[in-house]
């Protein structure tokens, strides 16, 4: 009995015993470490998918063409991986030399064989019970450098994990979760640093973008997305509202190595729907930020929605491309914003080039010569409620758009909807929601429309659209095979002709697609992977 007591106390009180992973750890096969050089040229090794958006320019365009417009009808299911925790999967896996890394809700990570879906190892992150999360238990993916994976967690930590074994190398607290901070997005590697954002825009946080030393986990720089006292832009917030102004950074950005600029979107100002307590433009909420790749210093900003009162985060993945614009080669950034406008912006300077609505909107008469919206008066939320388009979820949202180097078209999942917006008075309380209102649909969802829309970035005109049932939250990936892969709210995964929008192949996966597809190859065979519901499916051509 005494021995049993000692044993029990060892199990209960010994931190080594207590922390031991209950799963058997199995090592992955060896792979060549992912150097910064390889990440810079990720597009040249299309057999791998080395970061959330595929490449640093975030185009989500793959050079693979084994599966193409002529044979896509021959696609079949190769394997499915069932995520053990029931929730919705928003993950975009990485693939490195035949090994796939999949993040799971709430903040777990698993390594599987990319040819079979069989598990090598898993990492389950311990989470507190009293998380402060806005919109579900999500994790969208990891970053890799060397042999180390980097993952955001819902308790606002950044964790470095050995890609061969799943062992934790370091685990740092980015911010205090009980003050309303959380993390859901895949980090972005820039040189030897892990660049990462923060969520919590509905909890009165002050947003920032961080860079951590990939080796040690030490914070290298932090750039706040709301200027502090005495800094330029702080006067765009009335009173002390800048301290609780949100402007979160909850989706992954992009990087241009030639300009050495990091591009990242910022979220809504807080409280979301009551702007009375934060008069002014509320910089740098709802903006695209260009940061120095070494220091994080702000190079320029472009604010899409000054003084937003509709929760239209600029939380979209920036897509970078060099295009011919009015006879000149221009380095541009393309952005379909939640406010229902599409923008083409010079990414060297932040100068606005083109912009037009890509989804139904009633809040702005248009954009002026600088890209600033010309508002329709009287569209702010009221206590009684006012109908505005787009709704809170926007003309699009965080779901990854795509860009094809073949067609020169930008692709986005668009939603034509409307919602009644309400304003409420609220006081800030640390760790509590701080939103100042909300929204309500007054029609069933089926009364609205969604489409995959292809936009010409030189004119901001819609070239074609493919209607789907509302309200899709799937991302888009295009390939050198002339294909565009995406999903829909009613659980379809499908392929369109990227040039024309013609439907070429579809399959019902049975549950909503909340994630973006990715593609890779192993031993010369191309695969396409998409998460739907709680399952990660991988397709390839029939043998």
């Amino acid at each position: 009995m005494k021995r049993l007591t000692i044993l029990l106390s060892l199990v209960v009180f010994n931190p080594v015993f207590a922390a031991e992973d209950p799963f058997e750890t199995v090592m992955t096969p060896a792979f060549s470490p992912i150097t910064w050089e390889r990440l810079l040229n990720a597009g040249d090794e299309p057999e791998n998918w080395l970061m959330y958006s595929g490449t640093l320019d975030a185009q989500r365009y793959s050079q693979l063409d084994e599966i193409n417009t002529l044979n896509v009808t021959e696609m079949e299911l190769k394997w499915a991986y069932q995520i053990p925790v029931i929730d919705r999967a928003e993950t975009v896996p990485l693939v490195v030399d035949g090994i796939m890394f999949i993040t799971e809700a709430p903040s777990n990570l698993v390594a599987v064989d990319a040819q079979t879906g069989r598990q090598y190892w898993r990492y389950d992150h311990d989470l507190p019970e009293d998380l402060r999360i806005c919109c579900g238990r999500n994790n969208r993916g990891v970053a890799i450098l060397g042999e180390t994976l980097f993952m955001s967690t819902l308790d606002a930590h950044l964790v470095a994990i050995d890609a061969r074994t799943g062992n934790v190398l370091w685990d740092v607290e980015v911010a205090a979760y009980d003050s309303g901070y959380s993390k859901t997005a895949a980090p972005l590697i820039v040189k030897d640093k892990v660049v990462t954002g923060i969520a919590g825009g509905e909890f009165g946080i002050r947003g920032f973008i961080d860079a951590y030393n990939a080796e040690t986990g030490e914070l290298e720089w932090r750039t706040y997305t709301i200027p502090g006292e005495g800094e330029p832009g702080n006067d765009t917030w009335s009173g002390d509202s800048w301290k609780t102004g949100g402007s979160a950074t909850w989706i992954t950005g992009a990087y241009d190595p030639d300009l050495n600029m990091i591009y990242w979107g910022t979220g809504n100002p807080g409280p979301d729907w009551n702007g009375d307590v934060r008069l002014g433009d509320n910089l740098y909420s709802d903006s695209a930020l260009a940061l120095n790749g070494d220091t994080g210093e702000l190079e320029w900003y472009f604010q899409f929605t000054p003084h937003d009162v509709h929760d239209w985060d600029a939380i979209q993945v920036p897509i970078l491309a060099d295009i011919n614009y009015q006879g000149q080669e221009r380095k541009v950034m393309m952005w379909a914003n939640r406010n229902a406008f599409f923008y083409t912006i010079d990414r060297e300077t932040g100068v606005f080039l083109e912009g037009k609505p890509f989804a139904t909107q009633t809040w702005a008469q248009g954009l002026d010569a600088n890209g600033r919206p010309v508002r329709v008066p009287g569209m702010e939320p009221t206590y009684e409620g006012i109908m505005v388009s787009p709704p809170i979820t926007g003309g699009t949202n965080w779901y990854s758009p795509g860009y094809s180097q073949q067609t020169g078209l930008f692709y986005v999942t668009a939603f034509d909807g409307e919602q009644i917006f309400f304003k409420r008075d609220e006081d800030y309380e640390e760790g509590e929601r701080f939103t100042g209102g909300g929204g309500r649909y007054d029609q069933p969802m089926d009364a609205f429309h969604s489409s995959i829309r292809a936009i010409n970035p030189t004119t901001a005109e819609i070239e074609w659209e493919f209607p789907i049932l509302p309200r899709s939250s799937a991302g888009i990936t295009s390939t050198a095979g002339g294909l565009l892969f995406t999903g829909s709210a009613d659980g379809y995964f499908f392929a369109l002709d990227a040039a024309t929008g013609e439907e070429l192949w579809h399959i019902s996966l049975g549950r909503r697609v909340h994630a973006a597809p990715m593609t890779y190859s192993v031993e010369g065979k191309q695969f396409v992977t998409i998460a739907s519901g709680n399952v990660v499916y991988t397709f390839g051509l029939k043998e």
Binding site: E202, E432, T435, A489
Partner: protein, 269 residues
């Protein structure tokens, strides 16, 4: 932790010699709902709901297909009593996005939230209707001819919604609107679609099911037609009800009777 167990409370009633602490707990469990059910409490509960809960459950508490948060205005699948609702709010639902409210939130606030959630549904015992449900039942099958389209407990037609449990989810006011002005709010399932196939033939029927790539309609003879969207010429959507208005054909008292009957249609527990 402020968790309250119903079964524990019942045991405490019989074990009256237990400590004062537990007796107090029992009192909270049994009286909490009753203590915080004034209009003022409901309003405060609504206020808290809008702030803390509406992001997932919707500003109108009707749920959200994207977050998976359930509609709270109808039957609650996880809680059938005030105490059960209280416990879910207090402790959350494990392994889901339904997190517990913060420890600092008082029990009084949680009870006010319970009061607000309860206010979203009708307690049939507290509703006093003018009509006579037995007369309404006769109207349903005779003069109203409702059963030619609607089924109740396995008897009736298939063209309209099954009304066997309509009283659980619909208020008497909304039943009145549905009977007198059926076009006011038509659920997408009951829209009419007019589909023209590749052969040029047009068929019309209820929108039984539609997704991004296919659609199924049922015509007036209960034939089900299935189409692939890439194989049809056109599709027209008519967002009106095929049900006639009874405003002219039934008297005011007959409509009251029909409402009383339909409101009585609920699952016996």
């Amino acid at each position: 932790m402020h968790l309250i167990s119903q079964s524990r409370c019942k045991q405490l009633v019989t074990l009256s010699l237990f400590s004062l602490l537990f007796i107090n707990l029992s009192a909270i469990a049994e009286d909490g709902g009753a203590l915080y059910n004034t209009t003022y409490d409901v309003n405060l509960g609504e206020r808290y709901f809008e702030r803390q809960c509406s992001r997932c459950h919707g500003f109108d508490a009707k749920g959200n297909d994207e977050t998976g948060a359930p509609d709270l205005t109808g039957r609650l699948s996880r809680a059938s009593t005030d105490v059960a609702i209280f416990n879910i709010i207090r402790t959350g639902v494990p392994n889901t996005a339904m997190l517990p409210v913060a420890e600092a939130v008082t029990d009084a606030t949680v009870w006010q939230l319970v009061a607000y959630i309860n206010s979203l549904r009708y307690n049939p015992d507290l509703v006093d209707l003018d009509g006579n449900s037995e007369s309404g039942a006769r109207l349903f099958t005779a003069k109203g001819d409702c059963d030619s389209c609607h089924m109740v407990n396995g008897q009736g037609g298939r063209l309209g919604p099954d009304l066997s449990r309509i009283g659980e989810t619909t208020t008497p006011e909304d039943l009145g609107i549905a009977i007198m002005g059926p076009d006011e709010e038509v659920a997408p399932r009951w829209w009419t679609l007019r589909v023209t196939g590749r052969d040029g033939e047009t068929r019309e029927g209820f929108r039984m099911n539609e997704d991004s790539f296919s659609v199924r309609i049922m015509d007036n003879d209960s034939n089900l037609w299935s189409f692939r969207k890439d194989q049809i010429q056109s599709i027209e959507r008519i967002e009106q009800s095929t049900m006639p208005s009874y405003e002219q054909s039934l008297s005011e008292s007959e409509i009251d009777d029909l409402i009383a009957y339909m409101f009585s249609l609920r699952k016996e527990i």
